[in-house]
């Protein structure tokens, strides 16, 4: 029972976007939310569909349900999601680093991005912190890799 890896939720981000379901995941929206979870969560990237409060980490400055992408960068400003090609043949999704000030939080092991604007509150991806993070009247910051939040090589 633990978070062991980062990943995309396959049913939402792959199957239902591309098949007749035509799930309306738009990774350029800033109404998506980042929610924090403890290590009791056991994600199933193939079958998990919707955000749920179970095992969520919340506290001062980071309410249950998570923080809007439009307010999760420094100064309560936008993560400004960008979807582009980098390197050639590869889809890239990227955000400005998360930096939310004034938080008091205990043992956040992962951050989940989900589509709050969709009726299903569909899960999009999980970022494993590897080591649990706590704050006390401080900033919850997440530095993303230079290559982006995630990439998919479309021309392997």
């Amino acid at each position: 029972m633990a978070i062991t890896a980062s990943g995309l939720y396959v049913q939402n981000m792959g199957v239902d976007v591309f098949d007749a379901t035509q799930l309306a995941i738009d990774l350029s929206l800033t109404t998506h939310r980042m929610a924090l979870f403890n290590d009791t969560l056991t994600p199933n990237f193939d079958t998990d569909i919707s955000y749920a409060v179970t095992n969520e980490v919340s506290g001062t400055g980071w309410a249950a349900g998570g923080v809007l992408w439009s307010a999760a960068a420094a100064g309560s400003t936008s993560l400004a999601p960008v979807n582009d090609i980098s390197p050639a043949g590869t889809y890239r999704h990227d955000l400005t680093d998360v930096s939310v000030a004034g938080t008091t939080l205990s043992n956040a092991m992962a951050m989940i991005a989900y589509a709050d604007a969709l009726a299903g509150n569909n899960l999009m991806y999980l970022i494993d912190f590897v080591t649990a993070v706590s704050t006390s009247a401080g900033t919850l910051g997440v530095q993303f890799a230079a290559g982006g939040v995630f990439t998919i090589d479309m021309t392997p």
Partner: protein, 162 residues
């Protein structure tokens, strides 16, 4: 192509335009919440006194903020008036923002997360100390920020050129 299917595709295009208009009016979207000055002010605010805090420039930069400002405008223009010209401006704004992020991330200090005493962790920590020193923070402040002994911070700072 069947007439009915063509009509359905046209209806989809109309729905996309309506969705774009609704998105632009959504109070939670960054078109309506973006505050460039707030982002710049945050960049120049010292870290909070609590735990796990790092200077805001570890997470963003003035170049990223300015590129974000232009990106949001370009995205808004494209959604309001989709076409070749607004699409190209949107794509250019994406490239500019991505480049600003790339440059920032290549040079920024990383939060030290490895096991204490590990060589890579020490180098990462020393890099962070030197980066903060270049930003004008004194040894005592850096020691407090990174929860490290002042002597260790001073040692790393001694390698800095005047």
């Amino acid at each position: 192509m069947a007439r009915e299917f063509e009509d359905a595709l046209r209806a989809v295009d109309d729905a996309k335009l309506a969705a774009a208009q609704a998105r632009l009016a959504d109070p939670d979207e960054h078109f309506n919440t973006w505050d460039r000055q707030s982002a710049l002010d945050a960049l120049n605010t010292p870290p909070e006194a609590g735990t796990n805090n790092h200077p805001p420039h570890w997470y963003t930069s003035e170049a990223i903020i300015e590129a974000t400002d232009a990106y949001i405008v370009a995205q808004q223009d494209y959604l309001a008036n989709p076409g070749d010209a607004t699409k190209e401006a949107y794509e250019q704004a994406k490239r500019d923002l991505s480049e600003a992020r790339r440059l920032h991330r290549q040079g920024r200090p990383m939060a030290p997360v490895a096991v204490a005493g590990d060589a890579n962790e020490i180098e990462t920590r020393n890099s962070a100390i030197r980066a903060l020193g270049k930003q004008g923070y004194d040894a005592g402040t850096i020691a407090n920020l990174l929860s490290r002994p002042v002597a260790e911070v001073q040692g790393a700072l001694n390698g800095l050129e005047d």
